[in-house]
């Protein structure tokens, strides 16, 4: 998809003689655009949950929320958390699980059965652990987050392999790769080791083009390109409502 997006962006810019976007600039804009759209999925998800609560959404093909859920789940990962000391475990990161997390959905304490630990705010965790009725137990474990770590309760949860995390990772930064210049133009080559396509579904292509156009327009100081992309985005946004 990345080549198609790039060609479209360049075609729009060239058609109006707005300018040219280099591969390195394109990659920067592409990463930014992908992140924007990725984050929008969560906002849209909440929007459709609210609509559903107000009985303003349908089922089957009209169930937009389900579609968004599926897109978000494309970024879902489940990995063991690396144990630090005592009941402290490292949250997912490039160094521990191989990818940074955007959103920790749940933390699981492995056992028979595997149980979900509850996320408790730093404000409440002290009171919770000293509560007679609700203090965390093996059956109802809890965790709280501090920095890049989580603390599991009861504190007997303290061994590597004991704790798993299901989370939504960040999309990988897209990279449009090329090998040689032919006639002044870089030639697209997806066989490069560092090639990375967009991770968004195909329906996101139009959004990506518009977003990248906005960034490119800003870059080449061409306000018309920005306005054109914004207008396109607005039309698309209205279509959804």
């Amino acid at each position: 998809m990345i080549n198609s997006v790039r060609n479209t962006v360049l075609a729009i810019l060239n058609k109006n003689n707005y300018g040219y976007v280099s591969p390195s600039d394109f990659n920067l804009f592409a990463k930014q655009a992908q992140m924007d759209i990725f984050e929008d999925y969560f906002t849209a998800y909440n929007y459709y949950v609210v609509k559903e609560n107000a009985r303003q959404s349908g089922t089957g093909y009209a169930d937009v929320k389900k579609g968004i859920e599926e897109v978000i789940d494309m970024f879902s990962e489940e990995n063991d958390l690396t144990h630090d000391t005592n009941n402290k475990f490292f949250l997912p990161s490039e160094t521990t699980t191989g990818d940074d997390y955007y959103f920790v959905n749940k933390i699981l304490v492995v056992g028979t059965p595997t149980l979900e630990a509850e996320n408790v705010s730093n404000k409440n965790i002290t009171m919770l652990t000293s509560s007679l009725l609700t203090s965390p137990t093996d059956l109802f474990p809890a965790f709280n987050q501090q920095g890049n770590s989580v603390f599991l309760y009861p504190t007997t949860i303290d061994t590597q392999g004991n704790v798993k995390c299901q989370y939504i990772r960040y999309p990988k930064p897209p990279k449009w790769t090329y090998v040689s210049l032919s006639g002044g133009e870089p030639s697209f080559d997806q066989s490069q080791a560092d090639f990375q396509d967009f991770e968004l579904p195909n329906e996101g292509e139009r959004k990506l083009v518009n977003k990248i156009l906005q960034y490119a327009g800003m870059s080449i100081r061409e306000i018309q390109a920005v306005q054109y992309a914004q207008a396109e985005e607005q039309i698309e946004s209205n279509e959804l409502k």
């Binding site: 559903e52 609560n53 509850e118 408790v120 009725l133 609700t134 093996d138 059956l139 109802f140």
Partner: protein, 306 residues
Amino acid sequence: MAYITQYQYYENGGTPPTDANWGSYQYVSLFDVVNNFMLMYQGNNSLVNNEPRYKILFHAKRGIQELNYDAFKEIKVLELNVCDNLRFVLPDDYVNWVRVSAYKDGLLLPLTENIQTNYSKAYLQNNDCSLQFDVDGNVIDTESQIDADRLAGTKKSIYLNQGHMFDGLEGYCCDGEWYFDYSIGARFGLNTETANVNPTFSIDRKSGVINFSSDMADQKCILEYVSDGMENGDNSKVTVNKLFEDYIYAYIEYAILNSKLNVQEYVVNRARKRKSALLRNAKIRLSNIHPSRLLMSLRGQNKWLK
């Protein structure tokens, strides 16, 4: 939790204690209650949403505690010997008593709670009645006279038992009739409230003991009591009778809606009514009223002496 095989039920899979699962099918575990509620009654498109699990757990436990106090009718029974100190230490999971009995000569004798106190705290006093204090400024405790008399067996009782104030008094036989001395203010006829020959008791809740009258020394006491069902904090053992399962969900839902901001009053009321109706239904079911039971009672309705 998963269903178990019959071998697991009857023999606990061969692991002692083999009776661990007997009767377990009557109950639903606390874990299942919380899990089911989170799954079925909580979330987007539900009345309850964005509530942490510990809140659900709290209300589930509170509901179970309340049910244990009266609705469950799950009476625990403990037998202990009452020694010379005339004391029965309340069980560790005691909340309230149902019946206290003495087990004597193969018979269970229900005991009466003394309408008067039979224990007291006392401070050490000088001859002029002033109090004595220790170096820290605290008043010095001592044994009260009432406790000393009770332990020595010299305390008199208003009950018609061994310790009664007229028990053992000599009388006069005149013209073949026996007459006894009565104090000023003597009464005629029987005070049924105190007409019990068995030992009496008084519960000192704060001290966590039942204090008995002296005639209970060296006898076996059987205490029937209710607990709160929290099983000493072991969540895996906390259960609810299945007849009350729906009630517990309704109770949790009501408890949360009732304390949540911006919930319409009619929604709260609906939840309250549902909770109350389900409790009533469950109590009726648990009471096991059925025709054959009524028949046995009704068969005796024409008897003159019962």
